[in-house]
Subunit: 476 residues, 2 copies
């Protein structure tokens, strides 16, 4: 939110990871090259995608499970906070040492342990990069569906910690749908295994899904068994422009109830189109107020049929223009426009606020109208685009965090946005998570009783509270 | 297993639900017609699909959430065990008052609260019958994918408690993949809401999936928001006979890596085929040792293509015979043969033991071979069939529980079966769960550390341990 972290009692009760006593014992677990202590070294782990900087007191680069066990046991023993970190591409401060402590980077645990194509699964260490995994799988005709926009750099461990997703979620679901089993280390060094290698299994509680999306507050994942899907051999992308948001969102609802919905349904609002008119070569009709990017995916034989069905469905909602990219180059140009939005916004407002709220598909139109009202009221541009098939919209407030007049308006505006989303039966985050950035709002969504229950569950895993303190949970 | 329940300390520490003090207070929560106390009334809730009988001390028929809150608060206050129960179709004793206590039946909470077809979701009370929900949804062109064989009578609440599944899981996944949110009441009467109405959401821990499959040990579900799928408009079923299990299971592995795997992949072993030869009119080649039932589902336009692709893939594994039922009547005949197996087995061995183990698809052949060895060693027929696309096999030991010589061999044989399954990287249950029947084996699969952690999580939800005591967890 406001780039100023709320004060937290978490910063008080813990010990420093740079005492001589701690470092002496740490040197028994790790080689000195794995322990980063200089300011320059630590600053390389001080950032994520929020724009906030939080320099950790110490960074360790673990290389195997035994080292994770050793580091956690030591930290637990000496009350040192541990912040698990993948590639640092998160959007809510989850991987930041916001209240000090030791960052445990799993980036060097980057082995693909086993590809079992007959069983449609892969076993990986947490530091494997999402995009590199996809490359390794492609010769088997398989892929791992979670596709966050940071896939070229984000790690599987980070994907699991945050329950990551992307445009493909509309067809394939999110990270929690594509993990069969985990190996994880608890705060006291205990190793647990969850799930397994089968696509079904109901023995005991669903510990796998309890860890997925827990943002490093319960355990450090040291190995994951991922479920794979057959990779579509053909894709086709359509760009459809509408004269109103309502028409576009009605088309989305209709598409989602057809027999085979598109594999991606991306939405861009009027403000996004204005940006693209200014900043890209894309030709967009003047009266266009909303755009959908609709991708179908499948086999070479059925792709034309699928595209035609989508086109016929969309035609019911009187689009201004409907074009289909047949070749992959053309398609890449269209995707490029969608993916250009984030960098354009970053250039215009380097510290923009990016919320990823989600509402039921039938409420998308009301959401966008409400956001337009709020933008007009506070006179701050709000650009909205995202994964409309899931009702998941990225709401971008173009603010200058150094302007106190603007920033005074932002916090109440965010509260209005979140209240609007919850009134529309939505959720405050579809894929980014809570971290430090939404923890003061989480109670609005899940309720106090559930939040207290969740905090008690955390205490079962982590009695001393050393695991990523100050994330997810507000001071209560 | 052996139909004799292990002694449990759970039977000792609780109070009776039929004391005057308890019944006086219960009468303030429920009308007298909702409280069943006569032996005849209670016996109607004494059974499930295990063949075990366990007569509860008291049965209450709750009609709304407030009554669930009232009953749980009272039971928690007075240390009375509570056994949540749907339709009693479970296979592991989960809904039985195995150690005495009060059965809380949710069958009268059977309202479909809302069908929101634009958002592809439905809101139901827990007592709604799975099959009745499907009927209500069919006019919207939607369905709820979990399809246990008991779908005509089992309830959504039971499906959620056990994370139920059926043949469709190979394409659609299991109950945990089709629930968006829950409303549930904890032991002390606290009401929590989990998840929501959106297909994405990462705010806080995944409490929805923690409750799914928890077998009534954490909370009573009072409302569920279910995700729906577009209902295929056409189906086609093939019956393929092989001369060896290995050929059939290799075909399964291959089918699972094709671009669009079948919507059902059911397997029948040689012993199952022998039974069908004796007990049905189905003509099966004499040298047939394994059969697959392969269903494709989709739109009317692509169904023939899909069936052809499946047929071509299967042909690589030299089937003895491959027939495709074109009309739905023909298909029903083939399914009828598959579904006739359970009643045939029930007739032959009324108290047969039915385990639903699961292994990775590539290990199916080794599993069946191992099971054949065990059957030969102990000279007890073992019939194996099930959801091969998930590696989920129903292992049926045809035993007479009144024959002490046979029963003495069963327990070690089950232990051998479970050890074989775990050696093949499998799970002890794909869809039936643990209940009382597998609790002494659960530690073999999940490990002591995870089991202790899970028991601590239960204690967070249910500090006094009144929720379905003696289920899932062994005496530790």
């Amino acid at each position: 939110m406001t780039k100023t972290l709320p004060l937290s009692d978490h910063s008080q009760k813990f010990a420093s990871p740079v005492s001589t006593a701690f470092l002496d014992r740490l040197a028994q677990v790790l080689a000195s090259r794995q322990i980063l202590l200089t300011k320059a070294q630590r600053e390389a782990y001080a950032w994520d995608n929020t724009g906030i900087r939080a320099v950790p007191d110490c960074v360790v680069l673990v290389e195997n499970r035994e080292q994770v066990v050793g580091v956690l046991r030591l930290c637990n023993d000496m009350d040192v906070p541990v912040i698990p970190r993948g590639a640092g591409t998160g959007n809510v401060g989850g991987a930041l040492a916001s209240f000090g402590g030791l960052v445990i980077s799993t980036q060097r645990m980057n082995k693909i342990v086993e590809i079992a194509s007959d069983d449609r699964l892969v076993v990986v260490e947490p530091g494997v990069v999402n995009g590199e995994l996809q490359t390794a799988l492609s010769s088997y005709g398989l892929f791992w569906p979670p596709d966050p926009s940071s896939s070229k750099s984000c790690t599987i461990g980070g994907n699991i910690a945050m329950c990551a997703a992307g445009p493909g979620a509309v067809r394939y679901g999110v990270t929690r749908d594509w993990v069969l089993g985990l190996q994880a280390v608890l705060a006291d060094g205990t190793v647990i295994n969850t799930g397994g290698r089968t696509s079904k299994g109901v023995v005991g509680y669903d510990m796998t899904r309890l860890l997925i999306g827990s943002e490093g507050t319960l355990a450090v994942v040291t190995q994951a068994t991922l479920k794979l899907a057959p990779k579509p051999t053909a894709r086709r992308l359509s760009r459809v422009v509408f004269s109103s948001v309502a028409a576009a969102t009605k088309a989305v609802a209709k598409l989602m109830t057809t027999a085979s919905p598109p594999s991606a349904i991306e939405f861009l609002d009027g403000a996004s189109l204005n940006l693209l008119r200014q900043e890209s070569d894309l030709l967009i009709p003047d009266d266009g107020r909303a755009m959908l990017l609709l991708e179908v995916a499948g086999g070479k034989d059925d792709i034309a049929n699928q595209a035609q069905e989508v086109s016929q469905c969309v035609a019911l909602f009187s689009p201004l223009e409907q074009t289909t990219a047949v070749g992959s180059e053309e398609a890449e140009e269209v995707w490029a426009a969608r993916y250009a939005l984030s960098p354009i916004l970053k250039k215009m407002a380097p510290k923009r606020i990016n919320e990823d709220v989600v509402v039921p598909v039938s409420k998308l139109s009301l959401l966008i109208e409400g956001l337009e009202d709020i933008a007009a009221d506070i006179n701050i541009p709000i650009i909205n685009f995202g994964h409309a098939g899931n009702g998941n919209i990225h709401v971008n407030l173009l603010v200058d965090p150094d302007d106190p007049v603007i920033m005074a308006k932002v916090k109440p505006a965010l509260a209005r946005i979140f209240k609007l989303v919850l009134k529309l039966d939505g959720s405050l985050s579809g894929e980014h998570g809570v971290g430090t950035q939404k923890r003061e709002y989480i109670e609005w969504e899940v309720g106090r009783e559930s939040l207290l229950l969740q905090r008690s569950i955390k205490t079962v895993f982590d009695p001393k509270g050393i695991m990523n303190p100050g994330k997810i949970f507000p001071n209560m």
